[in-house]
């Protein structure tokens, strides 16, 4: 069983370490993202992660900051908020990206078109670490 954070979900370091494995092993998710080829930024607390996606697979994940690295869009939130978001049965307000943005717990910026055109894909990538808490996957 994977170690859990005090918030209930996997610790951020564990979630990020195994993100590519969990996403790339999900054939339906990769298929859904087969037209996606871009870099986006996931900011977890003070740490930005640059995530490179090609044909729906996470092929690069670089811990920042990295000087002058560009990205299409960014999704940002405090570490504790993401760890609460990743619990298998999150509490109201921590259960969805837009529940978090409406309450100011997360924010989105940049060119939103590729995010909105593939919204289900990216919401499932954000939620993928829930599987680590559920079944100790890669734990």
């Amino acid at each position: 069983m994977a170690k859990l954070s005090t918030a209930g979900g996997p610790p951020a370091s564990h979630a990020i370490e195994h993100l590519a494995d969990v996403v790339n092993a999900d054939q339906a998710l990769v298929h859904r993202g087969r037209f996606i080829d871009l870099q986006w930024l996931w900011q977890i607390g003070d740490v930005p992660y640059f995530i490179g996606i090609q044909r729906g697979m996470i092929l690069e994940l670089v811990r920042g900051p990295v000087l002058m690295r560009s990205h299409e869009f960014a999704i940002r939130g405090a570490q504790e908020n993401w760890e609460r978001f990743w619990t298998p049965m999150p509490r109201p307000g921590f259960h969805d990206l837009f529940a978090m943005t409406k309450s100011g717990r997360a924010s989105i910026d940049g060119n939103l078109q590729p995010l909105m055109a593939n919204l289900r894909y990216f919401k499932e990538v954000l939620a993928a670490p829930r599987k680590l808490a559920e079944d100790g996957h890669h734990g």
Binding site: M89, P90, P92, G93, H95, D96, L97, F98, A99, T101, K102, S103, L112, Q113, M116, A117, L119, R120, K123
Partner: protein
């Protein structure tokens, strides 16, 4: 022979707000008329579980209709050059038009989300024509949480983005089968329809100035909101309830914005006691 459900669907032709409309409705049960209003961007299928529940249909004639542009109700002639935008006036005319066409005697009107918003208006404007109203995920006003322009533009698939925007309004406890059935309504909605409904919801239905005028001795009001609804939040509903003397409001655990379709079993725990109360009203 296949097992047939007791739900029966028919069409009516009705003039609403000067438009010729062909309206689809379905119903089951007999007794007190219970007219159900679907959420924005969806259709009356959301109420199918209520129509299959003998604890309800033994006492209630449950009816759900699709607004024009929704479900099996066609958009009106000339839609191809029009930007659909629902208004309070048209919505009211559609609901009361259907109730009158079916000769419903003082129906109970139950609406969800934008349907929950309009019943607050009806409780005031048509108090004596109604037995009671039930607002699911209802408030007199709520804060917007995204730009509706994303819902209908050529470089984003409308059905996919509508469903992905609202998917988090379904509670995490809701069974996958019903979660995805609920989302299918959004995945399959017509272009710009959800956005057009939100015109009513966001721009033409701020009822904060009038809910205090509702007289619950003439038209009782019941409000039920799911704890996972971050669109119409429990706080929005409870704030609205404060301004309506005599209202009954309850927050539903483990439910989101689509209680009747996302988790019918759980919703029964909350709606059956309300329908018991309503059945005892004069």
């Amino acid at each position: 022979m296949a097992e047939l459900e007791p739900i029966v669907g028919r069409y009516m032709n009705l003039e609403i707000g000067g438009r010729s409309c062909r309206i689809y409705f379905e119903e089951a049960g007999s007794g007190i008329p219970l007219l159900c209003l679907h959420t924005a961007g969806a259709d009356g299928r959301q109420f199918r579980h209520l129509m299959l529940d003998p604890a309800i249909t033994d006492r209630y004639r449950v009816i759900a209709f699709d607004l024009p542009w929704h479900g099996k109700s066609l958009p009106w002639e000339g839609y191809e050059v029009e930007d659909y935008a629902l208004t309070t006036d048209f919505y009211t005319a559609a609901i009361m038009g259907v109730a009158n066409a079916l000769e419903l005697d003082r129906p109970v009107i139950m609406g969800c989300s934008m349907g929950g918003r309009i019943v607050l208006h009806l409780a005031h404007a048509h108090a004596d024509d109604l037995r009671a109203v039930i607002g699911l995920e209802a408030a007199d006003h709520q804060q917007p949480w995204y730009d509706t322009e994303w819902l209908n533009r050529p470089d984003v698939h409308g059905g996919e983005v509508c469903a992905a925007m609202i998917s988090g309004l379904v509670a995490p406890q809701s069974p996958d089968r019903y979660r995805w059935e609920t989302l299918w309504g959004y995945l399959s909605s017509g272009p710009g329809v959800f956005r057009g409904d939100l015109h009513f919801y966001r721009a033409d239905s701020d009822f904060r100035d009038r809910v205090h005028l509702i007289d619950t001795t003439r038209c009782p009001v019941f409000l039920l909101t799911g704890e996972y609804d971050f669109s119409c939040t429990p706080a929005d509903t409870l704030r609205t309830a404060k301004d309506i003397p005599g209202v009954e409001a309850e927050i539903m655990e483990d439910l989101g914005h689509f209680p009747m379709s996302e988790n019918p079993e759980k919703f029964r725990e909350y709606i059956l006691p309300v329908l018991d109360r309503v059945a005892r009203l004069k």
